[in-house]
């Protein structure tokens, strides 16, 4: 327990329990078969519950799983049984809201698959090797939502404030050298 809070996996399943995206950070499920079996167990244990307004929680195989659903998307975050479930819930909420932001409020399976790159990036920005990296949905979405403005693009294509910011940064950097 001296270790920082650990997330064992993040799962995004569809309304039939099929994997849309999953990331495992613990060796508890060494093979894909083991992972699929776990996902199936998690899905069947939670599918009949209503996790659409509040984050829900359950225990399975010495793990604590928090989950939330929207449309045909089922989000799960798993931690060990000793873990503080409110920390897991804050990770889940961060993920859930960030995905919603990135999919512009149209979060469903179709949009998620169309923007799977964003989902993968989202996962990458929330957890690093099991350690919580960020839980603020706005920050996550901002980091994962690939900034379409190329920082090296000509100034004319940037907005004034962005241009100013870039210019200021250029200035401070050259001063610091």
């Amino acid at each position: 327990m001296e270790l920082p809070p650990k997330v064992k996996n993040i799962l995004l399943l569809d309304s039939e329990g099929k994997r849309i995206a999953a990331k495992y950070y613990s060796g508890d499920w060494p093979t894909n078969t083991a992972k699929e079996a776990f996902e199936k167990a998690v899905f069947s244990k939670t599918q009949k519950t209503n996790a659409r307004t509040e984050v829900e929680v359950t225990a399975l195989e010495n793990n604590i799983i928090v989950y939330k659903f929207v449309q045909d998307l089922h989000f799960f975050v798993t931690g060990g049984e000793e873990e503080n479930e409110l920390i897991l819930a804050s990770v889940l909420q961060g993920l859930f809201d960030a995905v919603n932001l990135l999919l512009r409020g149209n979060a469903d399976k179709r949009e998620a698959l169309d923007n799977l790159d964003l989902i993968f990036l989202c996962f990458d920005e929330i957890i690093d090797g099991g350690i919580v990296l960020e839980t603020d949905a706005n920050v996550i979405a901002e980091k994962a939502g690939i900034n379409s403005i190329d920082p090296n693009a000509p100034l004319s294509e940037q907005t004034i404030s962005q241009a100013l910011a870039t210019a200021r940064e250029h200035l401070t950097r050259s001063l610091m050298k």
């Binding site: 995206a21 209503n50 929680v57 169309d114 790159d117 919580v132 690939i146 090296n152």
Partner: protein
């Protein structure tokens, strides 16, 4: 922004959209995706003019494949990795982000890593924050120690980067690297410490985690860190949770060092209960409930906040609270009773995990008067939860019934009701086991309980449960006031069930007939009807039991019948099976005495586990030839040893041969008051040999107080059929004599023809050297547990206490030293004190035992370890006899 697979551009090639089937056809941009084709597509990475959008799409497809569990061969992965590295030439940030991701997923080998290090190092120093942060994370994930020293400078710089994202990336990477390259990461202390003061919540969290990991083996440093931070202001809730965990650890370490008085840092934990973040409140409440020897005064504020959580609208909060209170209720049920009303309202919680936890907590904390009300509430709840939750509830009810035997009626009613409802095998078995336990523990519950079981088997789909219940009925039913009322249920089985159940029913009928004279004529009639059954086992049993019941009624015959009906099988079932398989039908009848009694190839741990499972029906009678009672019976059946008196202790088997040798021999030491018997369990592992006249020659010249008085050879030792030889010694009465014995196995070898299995007539004498055997002091102490060590300790005369101190030298760990002492003394560790918390520098271990001569002895051993792992032990011994306390010290002093 349109997705990478902007529908107009990407969907068409995969899906032919048919307007009529728009909703039925499931759309996926990955429909029909195939690894080979995607790998082909990945060649686009090599194009001279990089198309960022196209490349991002291909990377997404590769990631999709990996994420779905597809694996790339080494060659495929290498090829993809190399072409991906070419994409660093593109300045498109979106593509770069995907490149980082795929490199991490491909986890390139160290010789491949070199290709990207320069690109990543460039990005690490880029002016674009996102590049810096991600390049650090990727690089740290894939590099080795030598490379790490090269970039160390940049990482230290990154830790104090003004951009919190970069700083966090470096700190988290440090946490991962600490496992592989601790000496390097430890050099970053100063920068990390600066991070702890960061204004960014997450940087503070990551820096605190890393700083603690760096210092975790330095108890003083951790204590200082906690001391300073608990006074200061940690902003981030996550960091605050960490601080609480570290504080608990410091408290644990301090209490191990015997500091008394006000618990240090308790005030800090308590203040966290008023934090504005719920996760911090929960963390603190849990930390308080888990304090060693927490007092009720300390518990109260924590319980109060948890109680508030119980009525939160957030399920996670309710779950967290009820889960914590459930744990507290196991050790401090009284502290939780205040929450009972809130807990009762949770029985109807939508979330079944919460409801189940609430019920099991209530069952633990409820008082006698609330049982009925509780059962009513649970009844409504049971119908809509899954079997796994129901089993938890049934188990809780069983312990409740043991706690409040007067309430057995309502609990039994509850159990019998749920027994009638739908449910799977495990659930039904849990109920049946609970009823059986209640019947055994509460005599008043017996008759009613048996009738419930009878009703259950009237309509039971599980053969296993039916046969087990019939067996149980056969034992308990005849002893009731009106045994005849069970007969109908049992006889119904003979009409309605499958052959296995019918056979079991026949045996049960016979038991009633034998035990209850008035029923005998009627049972005989019933059994006669069974001899025309379609199944031969049923017929055989009926015929056999009819002849048993029709016996001449003499005392001897009665005794035999009783032994036959109620006695346990004298030999292990597995051995019986092997012997029966080897038996050739012939003139010679099968002799049950030829079946070896030694349980073979069954690990000791498994045997123990069986022995500890006395509840319910599932526990078969223990194999007779092992375990203390088995040994006792075995030895008393041998005339040479019958005069030795009561067996004091039998050791666990000690191996005298290496694994996989021709002959496998282990020995069990049986200690009597003035004798010692060695039981040599021998196994012949060579199929082509038969051993005869197997004996063990023991040289006791290094065991002066022992003199051999008799030995018992093993006449024949066929292949893979274990047998026993014995040697007995006389020793001074009541004295814990020790000594060393060397052993030689002597025997006559006869060749066996593997095709016929027949042995030659002539044999050759041979011998086989076995390893030495020692009788040690621990052999004279029985492991006997006491339920309450403190009470037992205080009830012994304090003046007779013998205390001494010993240096145990350098040891790997405290746990190892404690184990050595326990093994040396052969005593029973009490209250789980044989386990040492990790990182503990001191520990107290409580031991209890009975010394030869039936003298109770208790030991309180305090261990301490200094920085050089030198271990000291203070040993306090109390015994009913002063000389025994001295003897214990002597054992330690000589050990």
């Amino acid at each position: 922004r349109k997705g990478v697979f902007g529908r107009s551009a990407m969907a068409q090639p995969f899906v032919k959209k048919d307007d009529d089937h728009d909703d039925e056809m499931e759309y996926s941009p990955f429909m029909g995706i195939e690894k080979g084709a995607v790998l082909q597509e990945a060649r686009v990475f090599n194009d001279a003019q990089v198309d960022p959008r196209r490349c991002s799409q291909v990377i997404t497809k590769l990631l999709y494949l990996l994420n779905q569990g597809e694996s790339f061969t080494k060659v495929e992965a290498t090829e993809v990795f190399f072409s991906v590295t070419k994409l660093f030439q593109s300045k498109d940030t979106g593509l770069r982000r995907m490149v980082y991701l795929i490199i991490k997923e491909l986890s390139p080998s160290s010789d491949e890593v070199i290709i990207v290090t320069s690109s990543l190092m460039k990005d690490m120093n880029s002016k674009i924050d996102m590049y810096r942060a991600n390049a650090i994370r990727v690089l740290c994930r894939i590099i080795d120690g030598t490379l790490l020293t090269q970039i160390e400078r940049y990482l230290k710089q990154a830790i104090v980067d003004k951009n919190p994202v970069v700083s966090s990336a470096a700190l988290v990477s440090g946490l991962h690297l600490l496992r592989t390259n601790p000496e390097i990461v430890k050099r970053w202390s100063n920068e990390v410490q600066e991070g702890v003061q960061s204004r960014s919540a997450l940087v503070q969290f990551h820096a605190l985690a890393l700083l603690h990991q760096i210092r975790q083996n330095d108890r003083l440093a951790v204590s200082k860190l906690v001391g300073s931070l608990t006074r200061g202001s940690v902003r981030s809730p996550l960091a605050q949770c960490l601080l609480i965990r570290y504080t608990s650890q410091v408290i644990r370490d301090m209490s191990n060092h015997g500091q008394s008085g006000e618990r240090p840092f308790y005030e800090f934990l308590e203040s966290c209960l008023r934090h504005k973040a719920e996760m911090v409140i929960l963390e603190a409440a849990r930390a308080i409930t888990e304090l060693d020897g927490v007092t009720s005064r300390e518990l109260t504020p924590a319980i109060t906040v948890l109680q508030l959580f119980l009525s939160s609208p957030k399920p996670v909060l309710r779950f967290a609270a009820v889960r914590t209170l459930n744990k507290v209720s196991m050790t401090h049920p009284m502290a939780v009773t205040n929450c009972n009303i809130d807990m009762e309202s949770l029985i109807s919680d939508q979330n079944r995990s919460i409801a189940t936890l609430a019920i099991t907590t209530l069952l633990k904390t409820g008082n006698e008067s609330s049982v009925e009300r509780l059962m009513k509430q649970i009844t409504n709840f049971m119908s809509d939860i899954a079997d796994e939750f129901k089993i938890v509830v049934v188990d809780a009810i069983r312990s409740l019934c043991v706690k409040f035997p007067l309430k057995y009626r309502s609990l039994m009613t509850f159990l019998s009701n749920i027994l009638r409802e739908e449910g799977g095998f495990e659930y039904k078995r849990a109920i049946v086991d609970s009823i059986v336990t209640i019947i055994r523990d509460i005599p008043d519950a017996k008759e009613g309980g048996l009738l419930h079981l009878c009703e259950f088997i009237e309509d039971c789909e599980f053969t296993y449960l039916s046969t087990q219940i019939l067996h149980f009925l056969g034992i308990e039913g005849p002893k009731t006031s009106d045994p005849s009322k069970y007969i109908r249920y049992i006889y119904n089985r003979v009409h309605l069930e499958n052959a296995t159940v019918r056979a079991a029913a026949v045996s049960t009928l016979a038991k009633f007939g034998f035990m209850v004279d008035s029923l005998k004529p009627r049972i005989t009639v019933l059994l006669k009807r069974c001899i025309y059954d379609s199944d031969d086992e049923v017929r055989d049993r009926a015929t056999l039991f009819l002849s048993v019941l029709g016996g001449d009624g003499t005392l001897d015959a009665d005794k035999d019948s009783k032994e036959f009906l109620f006695g346990s099988l004298e030999v292990p079932l597995a051995n019986m099976e092997t012997s029966l398989k080897n038996y050739d039908p012939s003139e010679e009848a099968f002799d049950i005495n030829s079946v070896p009694k030694e349980v073979k190839s069954q690990p000791l741990a498994e045997k123990k586990a069986q022995g500890k499972k006395p509840t319910g029906l599932g526990a078969p009678p223990a194999a007779p030839a092992s375990g203390f009672e088995g040994y006792e019976r075995l030895l008393s059946s041998i005339p040479e040893f019958a005069s030795f008196g009561k067996l004091f202790k039998s050791s666990s088997p000690v191996e005298l041969t290496e694994a996989e040798t021709e002959y496998a021999v282990n020995v069990v030491k049986h200690i009597f008051d003035n004798h010692v018997v060695f039981q040599y369990n021998c196994t012949n592992t060579i199929p082509e040999q038969l051993l005869e006249r197997v004996n063990v020659i023991v040289d006791a010249s290094e065991a002066e107080e022992f003199s051999e008085i008799t030995s018992k050879a093993l006449n024949s030792l066929p292949y893979d059929s274990p047998g026993q030889a014995f040697v007995a010694f006389e020793k001074p009465a009541g004295v814990p004599a020790v000594g060393k014995f060397s052993n030689t196995l002597t025997f006559v070898v006869k060749e066996v023809d593997p095709s016929t299995g027949e042995a030659e007539d002539d044999g050759v004498e041979d011998e086989y050297q076995l390893e030495d055997l020692e009788v040690v002091s621990a052999d004279y102490i029985l492991k006997v547990s006491v339920s309450n060590f403190r009470n037992a300790w205080e009830s012994m005369n304090e003046e007779d206490e013998h205390v001494d101190e010993y240096g145990l030298g350098q040891r790997e760990s405290l746990g190892e030293a404690i184990k050595a002492v326990i093994d040396l003394l052969g005593m029973q560790p009490c209250e789980g004190t044989e386990t040492v918390p990790s990182n503990a520098r001191s520990h107290t271990c409580l031991l209890s035992g009975v010394y030869i001569g039936n003298v109770k002895v208790l030991v309180r051993a305090q261990f301490g370890m200094d920085s050089s792992k030198e271990i000291a032990m203070k040993l306090a011994v109390r015994a009913e006899d002063v000389s025994v306390a001295e003897a214990i010290h002597e054992i330690v002093a000589n050990g």
